[in-house]
């Protein structure tokens, strides 16, 4: 057994405060607690999800990180040692959930936003209109207007657009990785607030078809739940090529998470692993991608098609190919993006940060004169409204939030999504756990988050002296770098602070 691996956390029960109600036993989905006259925790099983702490009516539980009792070594931190012990025991691939947790520099935190002082006065968003409405989709090369009966009219029909009321959407996370209640919460919040959520690759549960106008459906390599009705259910179709947390590899939704509903929606037997191959087997080139884009357009009477890729070294050239292949939206997922399950080594060591990828892609599309042909969605490490503002200034049309949305629904980032034991009912299919998340409550929390962020974005815009998010898009002059090297500044197209 795990003789060498010290427990990550230590659970302490204040036996004086504890009144033995056993609520901790019910709330822990990882089997930490047993009851023999008193509550006895098994530290080895604790993941610090903090569900028990939240549920304990007597505030009798504290969870602490185990202090490192091993001799310190600069080259061999405890996590690396634990990894090796674990693999020596199991011979397996290290698995994890959520986004990259290695301490790479976070570029967003080295960028600061401009503001108006004295001249070009700032605007007070509480008193003056501030436009956050965003349209995602292909924009025409030029707009031709004609006058009819004294009124201006567009000469040509505009390509289809997705209208969102704030430049933030919910990232695609599959029904399978997430519970149905979590999907419902995102769908309801998207509808009420006027934004969209992504289905991820697990198909669309029949209960959620009514939220179609606020849904982007996904077609990924496993083709789970993809059929004509599904493709037509949303406002757009997303082809998922890659994911920031695990660029270049497929997905294995473990059999533990394949219950009756997942089985029905994905069309695979209960208890089998849902295997998403690494590539789409009908896409081996840009031409093949174009073929699928147009197969989907043909099947949907030309709805917008989004192509989601993980940010990798040649992201700019790839994005250019995607736009030329006919995509209406390019979805860039940086290497800090989350996941329900990914091999730890891949999650932590493959891909590049969204900030640099976004700047490179925006530059490239502008240089080639095709930036108008597709909207850019930036994702993978968007943590606050400040990140949204910076991403838009770097060239994004909108941002997608996955981890932030889960946190709003109660997630505590314990990174155990792959076990299917999510104590908060978000990333699980066990009925006794999924019912812990009330979709109405989740939707309210998501709407609150969007409301808060939207107000903050308006404050940023007001400070910048602009009254619309359009005016900030790609406006890198309004950003400055603090503590970034010259080359990084060059890639970002941002001057150092003071210049």
């Amino acid at each position: 057994m795990n003789t060498n691996i010290p427990p990550e956390f230590r659970v302490k029960i204040d036996q004086e405060k504890c009144r033995k109600c056993k609520r901790c036993l019910q709330s822990c989905s990882f089997g930490v607690y047993q009851f023999h006259d008193r509550v006895i925790p098994d530290n080895n099983k604790c993941v610090a999800c903090n569900r028990c702490v939240a549920m304990c009516p007597e505030d009798a539980i504290t969870i602490n990180e185990t202090p490192n009792v091993y001799k310190d070594h600069p080259n061999w931190n405890l996590q690396l040692r634990k990894n090796i012990w674990k693999q020596a025991e199991t011979g397996g691939v290290l698995l994890t959930g959520m986004g990259n947790n290695l301490p790479y520099p976070i570029v967003f935190d080295h960028l600061v936003v401009d503001a108006c002082q004295v001249t070009n006065p700032s605007i007070d968003p509480l008193r003056e209109p501030m436009e956050l409405r965003t349209f995602l989709g292909r924009k025409p090369d030029k707009v031709n207007v004609e006058y009819k009966n004294g009124k201006m009219k567009l000469k040509e029909k505009l390509p289809p657009q997705i209208q969102i009321e704030t430049p933030v959407i919910f990232a695609p996370m599959s029904f399978g990785a997430l519970s149905l209640n979590a999907h419902k919460a995102m769908a309801m919040a998207a509808k009420d607030f006027g934004t969209v959520y992504g289905t991820g690759e697990g198909g669309l549960h029949t209960d959620l078809y009514e939220y179609g106008p606020w849904t982007i459906v996904q077609c990924a390599s496993g083709r789970f739940g993809v059929h004509s009705e599904y493709l037509n259910a949303g406002v757009a179709v997303e082809i998922k090529i890659g994911q920031g947390a695990k660029p270049g590899i497929g997905g294995h939704l473990p059999g533990e998470k394949i219950g009756a509903e997942i089985s029905r929606t994905r069309m695979i037997p209960v208890g089998t692993d849902a295997l998403s191959p690494a590539p789409h087997h009908d896409i081996y080139s840009i031409e093949d991608l174009r073929q699928l884009i147009y197969a989907i357009k043909e099947a949907t009477n030309y709805k917008p098609v989004s192509v989601k890729i993980a940010c990798v070294h040649n992201v700019a050239a790839i994005a250019s190919g995607i736009v030329r292949a006919g995509a209406d939206i390019v979805y860039l997922d940086g290497f800090k993006g989350g996941t329900g399950a990914a091999p730890t080594m891949i999650r932590d060591h493959v891909g590049i940060p969204i900030e640099l990828a976004l700047a490179a892609v925006d530059d490239r599309l502008r240089q080639e004169g095709i930036r108008n042909q597709a909207s850019i969605i930036a994702a993978g490490g968007i943590r606050s409204s400040a990140d949204v503002v910076k991403a838009i200034a770097l060239g994004a049309d909108a941002c997608a939030i996955g981890t932030a949305a889960l946190l709003a629904m109660g997630c505590s980032l314990c990174q155990k999504c792959y076990t299917g034991n999510c104590a908060w009912g978000i990333c699980t299919q066990k009925p006794e756990l999924t019912r812990r998340l009330d979709p109405e409550w989740g939707a309210m929390r998501l709407k609150n988050l969007l409301r808060g962020w939207s107000h903050e974005i308006k404050e940023f815009l007001g400070a910048l002296g602009v009254n619309s998010v359009e005016s900030l898009r790609g406006s890198r002059e309004r950003l400055r770098a603090v503590g970034l090297d010259k080359q990084t500044c060059e890639i970002l197209g941002v001057k150092p602070a003071g210049r």
Partner: protein, 244 residues
């Protein structure tokens, strides 16, 4: 109803076909097809569409109901993620046939290319069936999760392998029936090979009867040779891959 395809771009051609099916036409004949893509793509309903010529890629992709009869060869991506309906190809067909197929039937009279039947699905009564009369290339039934793949090897010369390499790699559901000997070294590690049970033979014969009616092959001749059954050894081939 007859539709002329000569010199017509695929978008306009498919619009015409879609309109015809939507207006209630049950018999649509499309003449002089020459590489137009996406015929039958996403089309629902019960019409029979006869294609005279060689249709382009992604024929019957996402199709949901109609029957397509191709009097000629077909190219790549036939029945891509198809949901329901039937495609009968009276010649050979290309690569990536029946990818992620969820239901319906794809009958090819002749040979098929690489990557056929990848990640086919199956749920209760929805069982997609792909039958190829000739030989198949590499990656036949890779990642197969459900449905039935049948390979007959008719008209093959001695030196042509019945099926290519990596047959059934990652297979975790569904079943393949292959007429003749299958070299286990060509199969993925996840594949088991065994003799057909009585029930297997009954199921297979039912589908082959329909296949022969559609393609003109001789059922008696086909059934004379022995079939083998390829099945997934586990529904969770990678269940022990990870250190939890």
């Amino acid at each position: 109803m007859t539709i002329e395809a000569k010199g017509v771009y695929y978008r306009q051609l498919n619009e015409k076909i879609r309109e015809a099916v939507a207006s209630g036409e049950t018999e649509v004949v499309v003449n002089n097809v020459n590489g137009q893509r996406y015929i039958g793509d996403g089309v629902r309903g019960k019409a029979t569409i006869t294609v005279n010529g060689v249709p382009g890629n992604d024929l019957a992709a996402f199709m949901d109901g109609p029957t397509l009869v191709i009097n000629g060869n077909a190219q790549d991506g036939v029945a891509n993620t198809m949901n329901e309906g039937k495609v009968v190809v009276m010649g050979n067909a290309g690569d990536v046939l029946g990818y992620g197929m969820r239901g319906g039937k794809l009958f090819v009279k002749g040979d098929v290319g690489y990557r056929v039947g990848i990640h086919m699905k199956g749920y209760k009564a929805n069982i997609p069936v792909v039958i190829a009369g000739g030989t198949a290339g590499d990656f036949f039934g890779e990642y197969m999760a459900g449905g039935i793949l049948v390979l007959l090897g008719l008209g093959r010369d001695k030196d042509t392998p019945l099926v290519g390499d990596y047959c059934g790699t990652g297979m975790h559901g569904g079943v393949m029936y292959i007429r003749g000997e299958v070299d286990p070294t060509r199969c993925g590690a996840e594949v088991g090979i065994e003799e057909l049970s009585e029930e297997d033979t009954k199921t297979l014969e039912g589908y082959l009867k329909e296949y022969c009616e559609d393609t003109g092959h001789d059922l008696g001749k086909i059934m004379k040779e022995k079939f083998v059954k390829l099945y997934p050894k586990s529904s969770r081939p990678y269940g022990r891959l990870y250190a939890y």
